[in-house]
Symmetry: D2
Subunit: 402 residues, 4 copies
Amino acid sequence: MEFAYDARTEELRERLLAFMDEHVYPAEAVFAEQVEAGINPWGAPPVVEELKAEARRQGLWNLFLPGEHGAGLTNLQYAPLAEITGRSPSIAPAALNCAAPDTGNMEVLAEFGSEEQRKQWLEPLLAGEIRSAFAMTEPEVASSDASNIATRIERDGDEYVVNGRKWYISGAMNPACKIFIVMGKTDPGADKHRQQSMILVPRDTPGVDVRRGMKVFGYDDGDHGGHAEVVFTDVRVPVANLLQEEGSGFAIAQARLGPGRIHHCMRLIGMAERAVELMCRRAVERTAFGKPLAQQGVVQNWIAEARVTIEQLRLLVLKTAWLMDTVGNKGAHTEIQSIKIATPRAVVGIIDDAIQLHGAGGVSQDTPLGGLYAAARSLRLADGPDEVHKRSLARRELKKYL
Amino acid sequence: MEFAYDARTEELRERLLAFMDEHVYPAEAVFAEQVEAGINPWGAPPVVEELKAEARRQGLWNLFLPGEHGAGLTNLQYAPLAEITGRSPSIAPAALNCAAPDTGNMEVLAEFGSEEQRKQWLEPLLAGEIRSAFAMTEPEVASSDASNIATRIERDGDEYVVNGRKWYISGAMNPACKIFIVMGKTDPGADKHRQQSMILVPRDTPGVDVRRGMKVFGYDDGDHGGHAEVVFTDVRVPVANLLQEEGSGFAIAQARLGPGRIHHCMRLIGMAERAVELMCRRAVERTAFGKPLAQQGVVQNWIAEARVTIEQLRLLVLKTAWLMDTVGNKGAHTEIQSIKIATPRAVVGIIDDAIQLHGAGGVSQDTPLGGLYAAARSLRLADGPDEVHKRSLARRELKKYL
Amino acid sequence: MEFAYDARTEELRERLLAFMDEHVYPAEAVFAEQVEAGINPWGAPPVVEELKAEARRQGLWNLFLPGEHGAGLTNLQYAPLAEITGRSPSIAPAALNCAAPDTGNMEVLAEFGSEEQRKQWLEPLLAGEIRSAFAMTEPEVASSDASNIATRIERDGDEYVVNGRKWYISGAMNPACKIFIVMGKTDPGADKHRQQSMILVPRDTPGVDVRRGMKVFGYDDGDHGGHAEVVFTDVRVPVANLLQEEGSGFAIAQARLGPGRIHHCMRLIGMAERAVELMCRRAVERTAFGKPLAQQGVVQNWIAEARVTIEQLRLLVLKTAWLMDTVGNKGAHTEIQSIKIATPRAVVGIIDDAIQLHGAGGVSQDTPLGGLYAAARSLRLADGPDEVHKRSLARRELKKYL
Amino acid sequence: MEFAYDARTEELRERLLAFMDEHVYPAEAVFAEQVEAGINPWGAPPVVEELKAEARRQGLWNLFLPGEHGAGLTNLQYAPLAEITGRSPSIAPAALNCAAPDTGNMEVLAEFGSEEQRKQWLEPLLAGEIRSAFAMTEPEVASSDASNIATRIERDGDEYVVNGRKWYISGAMNPACKIFIVMGKTDPGADKHRQQSMILVPRDTPGVDVRRGMKVFGYDDGDHGGHAEVVFTDVRVPVANLLQEEGSGFAIAQARLGPGRIHHCMRLIGMAERAVELMCRRAVERTAFGKPLAQQGVVQNWIAEARVTIEQLRLLVLKTAWLMDTVGNKGAHTEIQSIKIATPRAVVGIIDDAIQLHGAGGVSQDTPLGGLYAAARSLRLADGPDEVHKRSLARRELKKYL
């Protein structure tokens, strides 16, 4: 047992921290202005392209992707880097070409895509030239159970015909988003986990109706492509667009989830660290009742609780990454669920305390806290609510005693 | 001791509940569409005017105002009505001319305004023809302590000159908002509670710069006039615009706060009831893992907790109203603080559970929950954060033992 | 609606408060010494008899009992008096002949007992000459559902034969306890709520084996008769010992529960007030890090939270009492469940904070806090755990939407 | 970074787990009977001596002690073993000669004792022939700040004279306890952290008055020597009994605390695992409302929360152990505080849920849960309450921003 990062991780952390200091944090104000000015509605403002160029130049690019196509890091090596990007979550992940949902989509293409699919979509994604979306969640069914999915993918000669309604498809409002990975049922009569397939649907295919941007507490998250409601009506794509074979959709989704949760959770920890930093800065600067907030017991309590919580969360996420690297996603099932349960909720609490410390400014557009809150809160819902994961985890624990 | 509402309250509750069913709830969709269409940016959409006319016709008008100028109800009689309006908080309070901050401003004018001031501003406010704002909170100082206020009101001949910066001035973005009650210091050298004064500043006075709408999470709350940052630069108004005499600002603010908190808290309880209703409806309609959510233990737990919490909050707020009616604001000090501490926080929790039950839809624009959340959450900050009130309340409790 | 106590309540409160100051609090040290000395193991120490005599002399006697047999107070009138006794819960209720489980048993006898049963058992109980126990809970079945009860009461000629095992039968270790009201099944084949009966079993009947004192944490609660495990083996009593007729046990149990919960909850509130008082006294006396604990933010937070919580709980319990008086137990069902859910849990939290403030002394025999904690904590389990009541309450709430 | 235990740890864990299964768990009932029978009041019942012999025979002995005198394990290697002993905390630590406070005392003697002191006291302690106590906490001062200590140690010729009052001196009621390490002030005028010294006081020295056993929620913890109040009146011991030189007491205390907290926290985690096991067993065995508790959502929620919490706590404690091994106590300061804050509180919560699941049995003498609760709860107070550690930790965090 050993709790120090390895040399490669340390080296990358150092370079990434420098990149944050030199490029990302200074860009935050510019980013906000460009968003406010509405320069690229539903897409990243221009400053992000500059940051992408610089990150690529520095080799801080595609760090998330294991194997030959990416930087070749393990989950355990990438996790601390993902955390750092979470400190400026609207900018840093995009700047490093490590932003969801592209990361998961690139993983899927790298692992399950045909050579042709990879050439057509993975390459421009890896190059940061296009964006992508992952169309799974549906308004009408509980997204916590993939077997509920109602969207149909039906073969008709050399084509598949897609019909269904999806929502909260992140990134899909972005004109730069060129490709959707759509989950649907090819065979509703098959075994529960062999009914689903995934298929590549270019965003401009006839019948694809990107209807509206869904909101998260009033935010449209336009700067990273929003969260679209998308209706698919008799959308036809060639059979070659299917990922793997019919019925493999559920397995691909499972494979996609593990790393996705590690990434989300590590970024959440970075968000929590940012909130603690803001909390501390405010506490030393602001005076009330004759002394700095930093000397108020209640404020100290918030800060201590945040620190103690973050340390625990980080270790659990890192251990989960290590497990995935050593025994695979399946062996890390309990831990993956655990971080999904524990992290968003705890980070929501930390950000909420930071908001409280900032007074009205905490919910305003003048601090990042309101946006961080919305982002963290929605992760208690994405990929199934906490409660579903707790139920499943408990049932596994109880099985030992049956 | 007697826990039944009196006859007048019961009669008004019945009429108001009917008005909600017949007019307010059906108007919610129209309201949303008109807001979405941007018909009256920063102001109420047209449907609200129709509702106002109807409410006035039915005598459901200015119910909040005790005494000759209003409906003449006690705090205890009005509270259950305010609760009902809270079930549709963007519409019902405005429809009944019982929306903050006008209510507090009308109270101030009725109680402390000169005959001329009342004629010029109270009458059109009571008639629902104009709106108003209350400019107290400042970004640079802790608003929890009115004695911190930095805005200056300086006499210069027959005029007062106002300089300062305010923010989160609710309603001030609304073009229909014609008058600001501004709190500032006339004599920074006086006793701590005699430094402040309140003065009437018409919104169109030169030097008044309504700079931008502050947000609450991602919401601009445009439909009820937003929350403005307002800068006052050498704003000149006649001396007759002062409320009462110099130095009376703090006392007026205190007088304004008590009823304001009762109203806020009762509306919050109405919001909580709405959340419970939405939670129950969703629970009986939505199925997961083979049975309705209503049969899941965790969901039942949320609903039971909500019910038990609401019952307690309501009683405490009603008792506070009764105390204000019988022994006055000062005698109800502990209770007023108690409801300010207990209500927003608890209601935030109930709405949060309701969000969780709704999945992604809970934070979307398709349910009112995200907006309710933001509104309730910001009331943990308005008029001073919870922590300040807890500190003050505890010190009073501890004094008994010194 | 009116939140002031009526004149009779006020007058009794005053007299009771004086009695507490003059007799009860001064007796606490004596009580502790007598218990420590083991003068009357499993029974109240002698000082309690002196207090009983004084209370009876002052007319502060049997206040809990409505109707002709007792003081004739309503639930709403008695509740604030029960609260006061809860401030010294080992002594005051017993001193006033208002201690559980005798109170519930006397109510049952007064309401459901035959003239003979009343003469034989109610009269000496009302006179404070004997004690009693209520034998319902069984170790093998979930006591939250009376229909689970396994104890059998079978008719055999002119006798009933009782067989079963009970535990946590409060007061039953006390030699002064002369009579048990035993719940069991006379007809397991009847309708679910007509299977049970209650029967009077004198403690010295052959076959009654008072086996051992059950503990609550490390306390045996010997000073009020402990909590016995009792085994009934072929215990024979005359048929005249049955309360009402066969099958009426469930209904009697229901009738007994309402007032019992009011009493428990009000005493809990008194316990919470005592904890707050101890907390405040310690906070002003004890210094750490150069200032009194009373000036530490975290301590102020505990005190404020306690005050705000207690105010809400008290109002809910009082309203419940009022409902029981005006619409009966059935109409107050939701509220009775609500106070059962809300009160013990919240009071446990307040006492826990008080313990924390006292350091090691908080869990020691030198403050009453550890004992208060154990008493309050066990009330989250008695009469069914919180969770069962929440489930039931939620289902009733959800029914409105089915 | 690597999350697997090393080979030596794995091997010892296996042997220890087997020892638990074969010897410790089967001894629990015997232990309870012997305690109940009062065979060795204030000391371990005889079965513990048998277990000690067996553990020593198997080489599972003094595992806690690094260096030549003990098993030579690192903190990181010992921690998982301490966890296992925590599953049966009244028996296993004592059986392995790894019970507090002897462990800390042996560490102090091994590290700071003179050769003579080690010979006289360390050797019999290592051999499990005697027990010891650590006399630091005082009733009159906040034990959270060692500089408050009031006990005096004054030189008088060749002797030191000790005067003071201590309480909650664990193990000191045990006749087998032969030696006290007493903390007191030799020079109240010195620098804050050079005022204290530690001195060895044999329990039978004239003037040592072991006055009474302090309780923890009604428990006297007699089976491991209780928690004594001890008064020292003109107690004279040779100057050679001083540990190190005058003024070194604070430093020795600091050195003692780090490992002590690791041990406590790991045992707490073992206690939590035991509670989860009991919870699961009960959940699968007990039926309510027609299905096993294991299928109730609320129960599943408790179990999932417990699992997620335990995983995080364990990692944090292990990392802290690793830090102490690699950078020393001082470098692990924040982490040592973090585990002290996080672990007892969280474990208290888990045990409390387990109690709730067990109904009345949960607080009874028939399950270990009540005792586990009391033990865990008191660790929120020992070595300073949580709040003191949170304050200190927060101040260190805030310093970065000053």
